[in-house]
Amino acid sequence: MSRFPRSSTSTHGAVTRWLSAAWLRTALLPIAGLLLVLPLPIASAQRVCLPLPRLLSTMPMGGQAGTEVEIKITTEYVTEPVGLHFSHPGITSAPKLDDSGNPIPNEYIVAIPADCPPGIYEARIMSQLGISSSRVFSVDQLPEVTQTSPNTSLETALELPVGSICNSQMTDRSIDHYRFTAREGQRCLIHCASRSIDSKLDPVLILADELGRDLVVERRGGVIDYTVPADGTYVIKVHELTFKGGAGYFYRLSLRELEADQPHPLFASTRDVSSFSWPPTGLAETAESTEVEPNHSAELAQTIQLPCDLAGSFATAADVDTYQFQATKGDVWWIEVASARLGRPTNPSLIVQQVVQDGDKETTTEVLQLTDIPSPVKPSSNGYAYDGPPYDGGTPDLLGKLEVPADGLYRLQLTDLFGGTRTDPANVYRLVIRKAEPDFALVAWGLHMELRNGDRNALTKPIALRGGGTVALEVIAFRRDGFAGPIELTLDGLPDGVTASGLRIGPGSNRGIVLVTAHQDAPQGLTFAQFRGHAEIDGQPVTRDCPAAAPAWPITDSWGEVPRTRLEAEVPVSVGGFEVAPITIAPADPAVLEVVGNETLTIPLKHVIRGEFSGSILQLRTFGHGFEANPRFDVSLTADASEAVLDLSKLKPTPGDHVIAFYGSAVVKHRYADGEAPQDTAEIVVTEPITIRVQPTESK
């Protein structure tokens, strides 16, 4: 079996939000059925996961508000694209047409409204296989230029006027050169956006004189803030730290003029996955109070009142910020510090000491020490094999509980473990001390199989469904201030023919699964879903959004390149409408299965097999809180039915309704493009959800 296109008789349903434009309709020509069994001509390397569409780059990577920008894109597994989508509703696109009025492949004209706020947005492209992964698209107010020819020498330096942005792609083993003129006393701010906009480039910024002799160098991702000493021409040099270049090594170089006392603008950035737990719900955008220096010793401790919400900074090398407060015996205070989650390269550490004054003598007793917030689930070590999800939900920030042992004075000392030699007021933090406000935060990503080949390529998993397929999303919960209750997961606003089933995050657990299933005949469609978690906290229903996360880039060699994961702006759910899944395993009877808590439950399963698999057995494990301990079991990859058996006397699930599913991985032959040899492809197989109603044992 090669590629699994649906038959030519399949219908193409409406693509939500997409089919109104005429050019989209032309792009959505019916695809002839290609469901053929082809011989495997040449053994090829095993691929990990069936192809999923990816938007790799756009050039330029952004534009000025109120302008139209011509962009070129590069993609992977995108055929028959039906249009670009941007996470800002005002940004629209249309294919660029040639002189004959035909769309030029991979070229678009993007219109950015004048009122679009500066910042970063995301672009995706819809195609035969569904919606692609996203790529950052920046909007600024400065005029922009795009590098069109090599500027890798002083002689070929590109003119960059002060007050403009250049979109560029780095050439391998090269240094890009820019030239600008400035007048004496002019304050210039040079910034290179790269990692913050999904680029792989670790930038080195060099300001040089007219002859290219280095004056100032910035290698840590910061800015060069330079007040020009004399009228003249200056040169900016940019290169990758290790002089890498090519696709993926793009950047936006901005050269701004600032007033003498003007603070640096905030440069928008994607957010690291670990920042999903910040901020706490309802936290004001601006802190109620601020740190007052000097407060670097017990004698200079800044007095605060609890509760407290304070903004401070690890401004100086080996900075120690000391606060003191009165507290009452028996009180419980939750202390949370954010700094790394604000995007700073810090590692806060905190201690609280009880201070007892006896005349002139002061005695301190340590009552609390806080260090890193661990990941809610163990992340992969990023070794050759996965041993957990490659997303780290933990953070160097702090969260902990202070149980006040006695009435009196307490001193809190906050330091940055990474700040011993660094002076940078930009290393800010937010210190929140509050009474318990139980809550939770969620983040989700496409479930990945455990593999030993180090392949991170398949981690970029847009929800691009094949008909008859079920994908699993792994959901991680960060629990705040002692909240331990169950969390129900929902995914609403789905395309036609798509259903979702949330597998509860059990009490005290930090992990849940959401299954998204496309009916075999689901038409091509795209929606932007609402992914949420629901819980009852203090008797009140609470709903929280669940952002999705993904690696910024597919990476095939994790030894040479570390995946960088980030939060995404939206949760698009799509059906490609072109391919079907190689196998569907579903309960034979979709009805709720009722069982008594200590009995054995046999679940008949039906198989619809569309692909050609290597091997005849699929080993399945079990999803569902309280059911994960179910032993692995085998089902046939050649039969059209099988059974799953659950021994509830061993699993001991709680009475009530449970949604479970089974999953495993199999190797299927898949051909992506016509003329290609079918390729062995390891793919996750997830059954459709099964609902079980567990009756209490004594009820029978």
Partner: protein
């Protein structure tokens, strides 16, 4: 000479001296008898401060005097070489199960070993002479170490008496050794002359003892002076300062000799700064006239190579030679110090010492980041103390704080302390990990006191294998002395610091201590290292072995350099500026009739071969070619290479000794010359390819319309920063315009003048490259 040989000589000669008039009695006992001083001469020369010695009338009392193991027995074993590292102090199990502590630093263990171990079979009190110890030591019983003791010697008799007395430990209240004195401690010795020195031990009860026969002597420059086991110093004909280290029971003292040439120095080049004062005062003292100042051509080439690691261009040379500016040398120095090449060149030096080594492909990011941090710091002239502080106390990730990369290479506290001590303090602490330092005052407690500064380094793994985030792990800083098992608090080279709170990163305290203006090591180590960079030889050699027993050749100058460096705010460029502006630096390398033998007083510039990277760049510059290094932009110079990985693909860099960045010692760089280097320059394909590179200098000169003389001028300016002499010009023209030969080797007559082709210019360039004037900085 092997240690065994040394021991044999020691015992055969120490008691056969007949020419010595000093009354030297039984070393173990007689020295204790303070019967007054006598005027003393050695080799017919008066010893400045007469040694207190015993009267022979007391000799009979000696036999019955109790022997003390520590004060009397151990020194004999040490002098005989029994407890050397290659003998019974060999790590593990000594020799054949008989283990002694190195140089007797652990006398309790030695006593156990001698008296109690092996069921006491090593001693035989009934017949002491039949003790295994003495049978072996005299080689009367087969002994791999050969004869270490003469049965007729006093040392032998002392051991016999000790065994006779029941091998006692000795009086627990016996006086302890507190210091060692050498007499005289300094003096002037004429070339070819001799100077006996005596070692006097001072004890806690105020007594003193002549221990010359039991002390160990070692010259710090064997080419200048040798010393025999009896303390007789014999000076060669090299003028300068030489020191003889005297060791006894863990105590050290030094005899400093000044060896004058004795010529009256009437004139010196102009005094430009304190460096000239220091150098020329010393030359006057030892009577070595300095060479003249070098010419402009030599200066430009020298200073360009020494500061920026590159040759001056032909244009730079032309402009410099044409300039009439009285301060044009100073201007060049300032221009070079501002240039990125200065930062590249010195970053190359420092990253090698800081072990920026690529062991795995994934090291590339950290290595590039670290190299760039070093280079940028030098370019920005970050004060040295601040730079070292950023390195020592680095925290965070490599990308956000590149000096963290050092902790990827140097992972254990003992490596960290050893590297820091050697690199930034000029002290080699390694020995003190397992035992008291044999040549220095450093104890194991001192060693682990330094290790304690690095005991609270926390590590968190990153996604990049082998890389950790570094942070200060809150807690009490301490390290365990592996010998005693005792926890040791941070102490900086033995100096206890105020208590370091659990919240404080002890490394910052170490950095504070280092950058204290009064620190006796920090500034000294740096100025000495940089002095060596510019003068080929450190004021202390090796540059990272600063110790009491290895004094500087010019202490006044070293002190002045330290003071300048500290008062400048640890300004590296200022230091270099002072050094290169001095007349001392600008002396000619050509010796006058007196100073050829001088190798340590800087009476002339000491030429040295170009380093591997400099030479590769120099050849590229002259040939107009480029070397292509992987992962780096085309045109990257060899001195700007970020790590050692480029050595693998470059036979040139390997042959000319580019280090692999595995050692904190500059000695890892090979600067010696070899046949392989000569062959490489003459025949290697990569060198030939550079000469013939399309668009290279040979190509360009062959196609140029300029007069041939001008083209030859350009070559010489590019190679040597000078124009050719008339003779060189003539030879070059003759060669370049040689008519082609026919099949019989006869010149073919041509109507037109011969126009030299690229091949001819390649030959000329090749000849220049192979000239010593090109290969050396002079």
């Amino acid at each position: 000479m092997t240690p065994r040989d040394i021991g044999r000589r020691s015992l055969s000669r120490s008691h056969s001296r007949s020419h010595r008039t000093l009354v030297r009695l039984a070393p173990a006992v007689l020295g204790w008898l303070l019967l007054g001083s006598i005027g003393t001469t050695l080799h017919g020369q008066a010893v400045a401060d007469p040694v207190t010695v015993a009267d022979s009338a007391d000799a009979e009392r000696v036999d019955s005097a109790p022997i003390h193991f520590v004060n009397d027995v151990v020194p004999i074993l040490t002098k005989a070489g029994c407890n050397m590292g290659v003998c019974h102090a060999k790590a593990g199990n000594g020799q054949n199960g008989f283990q002694l502590s190195l140089l007797g630093f652990e006398p309790l263990e030695d006593y156990e070993s001698l008296v109690k171990q092996a069921r006491g079979r090593r001693l035989f009190p009934a017949v002491p002479e039949q003790s295994l110890l003495l049978l072996k030591a005299t080689n009367r019983m087969s002994h791999v170490g050969g004869a270490r003791l003469d049965p007729d010697s006093e040392s032998y008799q002392v051991l016999v008496r000790w065994i006779e007395q029941g091998a006692p430990w000795g009086d627990p209240a016996a006086a302890e050794l507190v210091s060692l004195e050498v007499r005289p401690d300094r003096g002037t010795v004429l070339p070819g002359g001799e100077q006996p020195i005596a070692a006097i031990a001072h004890y806690s009860d105020g007594s003193q003892r002549d221990v010359t026969d039991l002390a160990l002597f070692e010259s710090n420059d064997k080419a200048m002076a040798e010393v025999d086991e009896s303390g007789l110093v014999t000076v060669a004909d090299i003028p300068g300062k030489v020191a003889v280290m005297v060791r006894y029971q863990g105590k050290i003292s030094v005899f400093n000799a000044s060896v004058p040439l004795g010529v009256t120095v009437t004139e010196t080049p102009p005094i430009r700064n304190f460096i000239d004062v220091g150098v020329f005062d010393n030359l006057r003292e030892i009577g070595v006239p300095p060479s003249e100042l070098c010419d402009d051509e030599t200066f430009l080439r020298r200073v360009s190579l020494d500061i920026a690691g590159r040759l001056p261009t032909a244009q730079e040379a032309n402009e410099f030679l044409a300039s009439d500016a009285p301060d044009k040398r100073d201007q060049v120095i300032d221009r070079l110090l501002r240039s990125p090449e200065y930062a590249d060149f010195f970053a190359n030096k420092w990253t090698a010492l800081l072990k920026n080594r690529r062991d795995d492909a994934s090291d590339i990011t950290s290595n590039f980041a670290f190299h760039a941090w070093v280079r940028d710091s030098l370019l920005a002239n970050v004060p040295y103390d601040q730079w070292v502080r950023e390195l020592l106390a680095a925290t965070g990730t490599i990308l956000t704080n590149p000096p963290v990369a050092w902790y990827k290479r140097v992972k254990q506290p003992i490596e960290q302390l050893e590297d820091v001590a050697q690199l930034f303090l000029g002290v080699r602490m390694q020995c003190a990990q397992c035992h008291h330092h044999p040549f220095e005052r450093w104890s194991q407690d001192d060693y682990y006191g330094m290790a304690a500064f690095f005991s609270q380094i926390g590590r968190k793994p990153t996604a990049t294998r082998g890389e950790d985030m570094i942070f200060h792990n809150r807690g009490t800083a301490q390290a365990t002395n592996i010998k005693t098992g005792q926890p040791i608090r941070p102490a900086a080279m033995g100096e206890t610091l105020p208590e370091i709170a659990a919240d404080q990163d002890p490394r910052l305290k170490l950095a504070d201590w280092m950058s204290d203006p009064e620190n006796p090591f920090f500034a000294k180590a740096l100025v000495n290292r940089y002095w060596k960079h510019f003068f080929r030889r450190g004021l202390i050699e090796p540059e990272d072995d600063i110790r009491d027993s290895n004094p500087p050749t010019n202490p006044e100058l070293l002190r002045a350099l330290e003071e300048h460096f500290v008062s400048s705010g640890y300004d590296l460029k200022s230091l270099i500026r002072e050094i290169t502006r001095s007349s001392a630096y600008q002396l000619s390398a050509i010796p006058n009739e007196y100073n050829l033998a001088d190798t340590q007083n800087y009476s002339r510039y000491y030429p040295r071969r170009l380093q591997a990277e400099m030479m590769l760049d120099a050849i590229d510059d002259l040939a107009g070619s480029q070397t292509d290094f992987p992962n780096l932009p085309r045109g990257t110079r060899a001195i700007a290479l970020p790590d050692n990985s480029y050595n693998r693909a470059s036979p040139f860099l390997r042959v000319f000794g580019r280090p692999e960045n595995s050692s904190v010692c500059e000695c890892e760089r090979t600067q010696t010359s070899s046949l392989a280097q000569s062959l490489h320059l003459m025949n290697a394909a990569d060198v030939k390819a550079k000469l013939a590179q399309a668009g290279g200098r040979a190509d360009r000169l062959a196609q140029a319309d300029a007069p041939l003389e001008d083209r030859i001028d350009e070559l010489y300016l590019a190679a040597f920063a000078r124009r050719p002499t008339a003779e060189e010009q003539t030879i070059a023209i003759e060669y370049l315009t040689e008519p082609p030969l026919d099949a019989d080797g006869n010149p073919i007559a041509t109507a037109e003048p011969i126009k030299p082709n690229a091949e001819a210019f390649q030959d000329l360039i090749w000849a220049l490259i192979n000239a010593k004037e090109f290969l050396f900085n002079h």
